[in-house]
């Protein structure tokens, strides 16, 4: 077992399962610059660790997974160019999205703004029945900036995504499951056990196979059908030869 504690994130590896926990419970794990940096370090470690088979992304405390970006730090960038550079120099969201191992967002309570966006970058989303989802950015004169305007409509239907992003519609756990934002809802006290069960199942999948599936799904999203089908065929051949998914 490996355990590391950063200022805003805790990391534990048990039985090939990486438990990454956002850890600012006093502010419902609001995502700040420190958390971006801590998460970036953890994800870099996970990315190159062949002993990690599954990632669980969680939030500490009773009140929720993540209350969104910590706006108390907004406006601190010296200039727009500096803000833009920072966005891509430490693209923690891109690293999370591109992990080749299965990632599971384990959600409870408040799942707001960046919290929803982090969850959308994971492969599977499971939530406690007390989870509430919303994207309130435009209410504060902001827009989602961790991929939400792109990942939300790709996971939900376009109209539902616009409704959440423009009108700020909130979804409870059961609504969120009905529209496909999350895949499973469990009782609050069963969330940990269910997420471990999912992780154990996922850990059984051959990593090369899972990596290939993830690439294939990304291809299905972005390529014309004929190119996607050809790519799927190539991935399958590479997998048979033991050279895919890495």
């Amino acid at each position: 077992m490996t355990e590391s504690t950063f200022e805003t994130v805790t990391y534990e590896k048990r039985c090939r399962i990486a438990h990454i926990t956002l850890n600012r419970p006093e502010v419902i794990n609001a995502f700040n610059v420190q958390m971006r940096d801590d998460l970036s370090e953890v994800l870099d470690a996970v990315r190159w660790d062949p002993d990690v088979a599954v990632v669980l992304l969680k939030g500490s405390g009773d009140r929720g997974f993540c209350a969104g970006a910590d706006l108390s730090e907004f406006g601190s960038a010296p200039s727009q160019s500096a803000a833009r550079n920072a966005r891509w120099e430490r693209d923690v969201f891109g690293v999370l999205r591109d992990l080749t191992v299965p990632t599971v967002a384990v959600l409870h309570g408040h799942v707001i703004g960046s919290g929803v966006e982090l969850a959308l970058l994971c492969d599977i989303r499971v939530a406690a029945d007390n989870a509430v989802f919303s994207m309130p950015e435009t209410y504060y004169g902001l827009i989602a900036a961790a991929g939400g305007t792109q990942t939300l409509p790709r996971v939900l239907k376009q109209g539902r995504a616009l409704d959440m992003l423009l009108a700020g519609r909130r979804l409870n756990a059961s609504d969120a499951r009905d529209v496909g934002l999350i895949q499973r809802v469990v009782k609050s006290d069963g969330l940990e056990m269910e997420s471990e069960r999912i992780a154990n199942d996922l850990a059984e999948i051959d990593p090369a196979l899972f990596g290939a599936i993830k690439i294939a799904l990304a291809t299905a999203r972005d390529l014309p059908l004929a190119d996607g089908l050809a790519h799927e065929k190539r991935l399958s051949i590479m997998l048979d030869r033991g050279v895919a998914g890495t």
Partner: protein, 239 residues
């Protein structure tokens, strides 16, 4: 139908512009106002499927509505068919009365047998998915409010007769949000849908950074940190 300009100015206090559909000229005038009047923060359109009918939604109107940068809410009731449906699909947020029904009859209507040409073959599959869109196009099947809710064509079903009021509430809600934020979020979703994910994320990030120059963003952040509601009215007319 009342004069669109009067109707607009009446509504612009709430910064919601109602776009009338009773006549082409009034519709086009209102769309021009939605596109040019800096005070317009959200638009709404009410489609009743009665008295309007497919025939009074003329070719090209869905394209005009779809080109607006400002978020548009559609309140739907009655029979939302053919070009009326295509006009609704050009809005962003759609809600309907419980007894509303939807159909695309252009292909199956033995008298016409036409191709829908105002987005029926393009916006519909993007909004409800290819399965239901193909079914509707090829069979002309009339579908219920419950079915379009499941398909994501509408996001809310209202009690009979209440969709107009509810659409107005939603439009006012959107109008109370940041103006550029709403427009940028709409653009990010609609333009980003046509891009590979990687490029679309760049678009989102660039719009988010561009928003840094917007005084409303500063007001929103200040309000959040001060635990108060943002007040965007103070910026009206200054940009």
């Amino acid at each position: 139908m009342s004069n669109p300009v009067n109707q607009s100015s009446e509504n612009s206090a709430g910064r919601v512009l109602t776009i009338p559909v009773g006549g082409r000229a009034a519709f086009e005038d209102a769309c021009v106002m939605a596109a040019t009047d800096e005070d317009v923060r959200a638009a709404m359109i009410v489609l009743t499927g009665e008295g309007i009918g497919a025939d009074s939604v003329e070719p090209g109107m869905p394209a005009t509505l779809g080109a607006l940068l400002v978020p548009v809410v559609a309140g739907l009731s009655g029979r939302i068919d053919d070009r009326t449906l295509e006009l609704a699909l050009a809005a962003d947020v759609r809600i309907c009365d419980r007894d509303t029904t939807f159909a695309l009859t252009a292909v199956t209507d033995s008298g016409s047998g036409q191709l829908p040409s105002d987005g029926g073959t393009q916006r519909l599959p993007r909004i409800v998915g290819p399965g239901l869109a193909t079914d509707m196009l090829l069979t002309g099947r009339r579908i219920t409010a419950e079915e379009v809710l499941r398909a994501g064509l509408v996001t809310e079903i209202c009690p009979a007769g209440e969709s107009k009021t509810r659409a107005e509430q939603l439009a006012k809600e959107i109008a109370s949000h940041g103006k550029s934020a709403g427009r940028f979020a709409k653009e990010a979703v609609l333009k980003g849908a046509d891009m590979p994910l990687e490029q679309s994320l760049r678009l989102e990030a660039d719009l988010a950074i561009l928003l840094h120059t917007d005084p409303e963003r500063a007001e929103g952040i200040d309000a959040f940190n001060g635990r108060r509601d943002p007040d965007f009215r103070q910026d009206d007319g200054s940009k």
